[in-house]
């Protein structure tokens, strides 16, 4: 079949006209009222989340639970935060409910005006059901709840019991808990491990110790008044611990999550890992064949939090009340249990820790009931002010730490360089 030239041109023109109409229609959206406290809410509700951000099964059950609405969940792939920022900037095609990743919450907290205060929609009544520190993390300093807690990332020490045993170290959970109560004791274990089994390391990389120790503190890199506190004792302590691990030679010096670290975990040359509850999934997929040999013990000197996300309602939502009802249901205690089973989302509501989904023994961890470690850890997470500039201020410390680890730079000189670089970077963004 041949297409005549005229026919082709006509089709092209039609297409162009169609595109133009589409654009103007989209612009028209801007005029429609945003927010809306009236009872006539839209019944179309869209949700943005990322793969694994919520239990897909729970999300799929929303239409059954809320028959009156048209629910459109979308899994947004790639850089989630960037896509959300772009959409907020363009004020087009905004979701009614959106996920916010834990590492981005401080940034969005500074943009609190873009989201609705969930307390005004009735979140206040639910506050007691969720972990206090997590609730605070999702609230602005003046008490607006922007992010409703999805999950948390309480940290622990994952270790290979078989390798510990082979090296003559304590291997039962209770014994390891007792033997690794402090960082120094933990490093001692590392030294003994290396002596008994040369080529075996307890610490993956210096940054792992550094970040965990910073997370254990009630202070981070900047305070709420935009004052730089990265040169203070709490960061120095984390720095000293990380460089000590390097000096003792117990750091494997490989980036976590990369092929080398994964291979080492299944080979047994890296039988320890400090990580959040969700790291269990990573270990399970990286070292599948070592099932049954891993255990979980409390982290030296207490737990910290790493990761864990939120749900928020952008202020452009045309159905805030219905959206909040959906959030409330998506993240209620029972569904938190399902989230744990389906996507390893560690519940932010402590009542869920008694659900069978969480109290079941885990075969990968030799039948250990891991909630016995993670549950109490979740309750003891230190609350720290998270600044949106933490990332900028952390970069120089991470860079200098890597200089110490890979180039043998003197820790004291590296510390001074890191502090002065962080100060300089801070001044640029108004932290001093």
């Amino acid at each position: 079949m041949t297409i005549s030239r005229r026919r082709l041109l006509q089709a092209g023109l039609l297409g162009l006209a169609g595109a133009a109409v589409g654009t103007t229609a989209a612009c028209g959206d801007d005029d429609s009222p945003t927010g809306g406290g009236s009872g006539s809410e839209s019944s179309d509700i869209s949700l943005w989340y990322w793969s694994g951000g919520l239990s897909d099964k729970v999300v799929a059950d929303v239409p059954k639970q809320f028959p009156g609405i048209t629910f459109k969940p979308s899994q947004i792939g790639g850089a989630f935060k960037d896509k959300l920022v772009t959409t907020i900037s363009s004020r087009q095609f905004m979701p009614d409910i959106t996920g916010i990743k834990g590492e981005d919450i401080a940034y969005f907290m500074a943009q609190a005006g873009q989201f609705l205060d969930l307390n005004e929609l009735g979140a206040g009544d639910l506050k007691s059901q969720y972990l206090e520190w997590k609730w605070k993390q999702g609230s602005t300093p003046d008490g607006k709840l922007i992010g409703f807690p999805i999950d948390i990332g309480p940290t622990a020490l994952f270790y290979r019991a078989d390798i510990f045993k082979k090296a003559g170290l304590p291997s039962e959970v209770a014994d390891v808990t007792a033997a690794a109560g402090t960082w120094d004791a933990y490093f001692d274990l590392g030294t003994k491990l290396k002596k008994a089994l040369p080529g075996t390391f307890l610490v993956g990389e210096a940054a792992e110790v550094f970040d965990m120790a910073v997370n254990q503190s009630t202070k981070r890199y900047a305070d709420a008044d935009k004052k730089f506190i990265g040169d203070q004792e709490h960061i120095r302590r984390a720095w000293d611990l990380a460089t000590k691990a390097v000096k003792l030679g117990i750091s494997f010096k490989v980036q976590s999550g990369k092929q080398d670290a994964n291979a080492a975990m299944s080979q047994g040359t890296l039988p320890g890992k400090l990580g959040a509850a969700w790291v269990a999934l990573d270990i399970k997929s990286a070292a599948e064949k070592t099932s049954g040999k891993w255990r979980v013990a409390p982290m030296p000197e207490g737990p910290a939090n790493q990761g864990g996300s939120f749900l928020a309602i952008p202020k452009s939502s045309k159905a805030p009340k219905k959206s909040f009802e959906i959030i409330k249901w998506l993240l209620d205690v029972d569904n938190q249990g399902r989230g744990y089973t389906d996507s390893a989302l560690f519940p932010s509501a402590p009542a869920a820790y008694k659900l069978p989904a969480l109290t079941a023994p885990d075969e990968f961890f030799g039948g250990q009931v891991t909630i016995d470690v993670f549950g109490p850890a979740a309750q003891k997470i230190p609350v720290a002010y998270e600044s949106q500039y933490d990332g900028v201020l952390r970069d120089p410390f991470a860079a200098e730490l890597s200089n110490v680890e890979s180039k043998g730079k003197d820790p004291e000189a590296a510390w001074n360089d890191a502090v002065s670089a962080a100060k300089k970077a801070g001044e640029r963004v108004g932290v001093s």
Binding site: L13, V85, Y107, Q111, K253, D260, Q388, G391, D395, A399
Partner: protein, 321 residues
């Protein structure tokens, strides 16, 4: 020389033909070509929306302070002033240039050798061409993950080989130079075939008469290559050098996948584009990110001009294309 003699005559003729028309007539003629303009318009419309507009906006952003959502604030030259004093930026520039040299020189040298070999191949011509081109159309992310496994320090194939022949392990992705070597190796692997195909096309335009005459005059293969092939290939080499410069100075995906956001040991995998990405999209400093991007543009332009001048040098006007 034979090349340019055939190519040149067409140009002056075209120029003189369009010259005498007066402006109004030209406009009317342009209008009468509307179906043709319409036919090529999709590219230009898409380019304007997705290419030109973002470029102009990032130029504007370079003089702003913007966190991505809130109001942006005019910052004058602040971003550039900070950039001049920013050690990390200079480190990223150094990394970029080193990786670029370490990858482009072997790529183009190997490509030339390959092209000459391919040109003399008698059988399975298309097979070889395809085989050498395939790395270029393979996903960079996939290749980077593969190279990451290949060059893993403890369980990588490369180190296993090195140990088997009695050399020690190399901490490829944990050392300053190792990271650069791996990124360069990856680039060489991906781009040698592409450049070889372009060189091959160039080689095929060289008249065989020239070679035959040279042989009759008693030239050997090396002399033929350096005295005939290389000079005639100059415009094509210039093209590949420019393309490699533009691409090589914008290396991003390889280090991002190989060493992650930290930039690797001593941040030695942190290239300029990677740094701009980190500042804009990880640290939400879009104004500064845009300023870095502007400097990337400058550096690329500078090196392209420099290369142009170097490759053209010593070449007489007649062989210019």
């Amino acid at each position: 020389m034979a090349l340019s003699r055939t190519a040149v005559p067409a140009a002056p003729e075209a120029r003189t033909r369009s010259h005498p028309h007066r402006a109004p007539r030209r406009r009317r003629r342009a209008l009468s070509y509307w179906p043709q303009y319409l036919a090529i318009s999709p590219f230009y419309l898409l380019f304007a929306v997705f290419g030109l507009a973002p470029v102009l906006f990032s130029f504007y952003l370079a003089f702003q302070r913007w966190d991505g959502i809130g109001e942006s604030e005019f910052a004058g030259l602040d971003n550039f002033k900070y950039l001049i004093k920013d050690d990390v930026f200079w480190l990223s520039l150094r990394n970029t240039l080193l990786i670029w040299v370490m990858s482009t020189v072997p790529t183009l040298a190997l490509a030339m050798v390959l092209a000459v070999l391919l040109n003399s191949v008698k059988r399975f011509k298309s097979f070889y061409r395809m085989a050498f081109f395939i790395p270029n159309i393979t996903s960079v992310v996939a290749i980077s993950i593969f190279f990451g496994a290949l060059f893993a320090t403890n369980y990588g194939l490369v180190n296993a080989l090195l140990e088997a022949i009695g050399l020690g392990k190399v901490a490829w992705l944990q050392s300053e130079w190792g990271i650069k070597v791996v990124i360069a190796a990856l680039t060489v692997w991906q781009w040698t075939g592409y450049n070889a195909i372009i060189y091959l096309a160039g080689l095929q335009t060289i008249s065989t008469d020239l070679y035959e005459q040279a042989k009759v005059d008693g030239a050997n293969a090396v002399q033929i290559f350096f005295r005939i092939t290389l000079p005639l290939m100059r415009p094509i080499i210039l093209f590949t050098v420019v393309i490699s410069t533009v691409g090589g100075l914008q290396t991003f995906t390889e280090p991002k996948v190989l060493v992650g956001d930290s930039g690797g040991a001593g941040q030695s995998g942190l290239t300029m584009v990677f740094y701009f990405f980190r500042q804009a999209f990880s640290n939400n400093d879009y104004g500064y990110g845009a300023a870095i991007a502007m400097v990337v543009l400058l550096v690329v332009a500078l090196f392209t001009i420099l290369n142009w001048a170097l490759v053209q040098r010593g070449q007489d006007g007649r062989t210019r294309r």
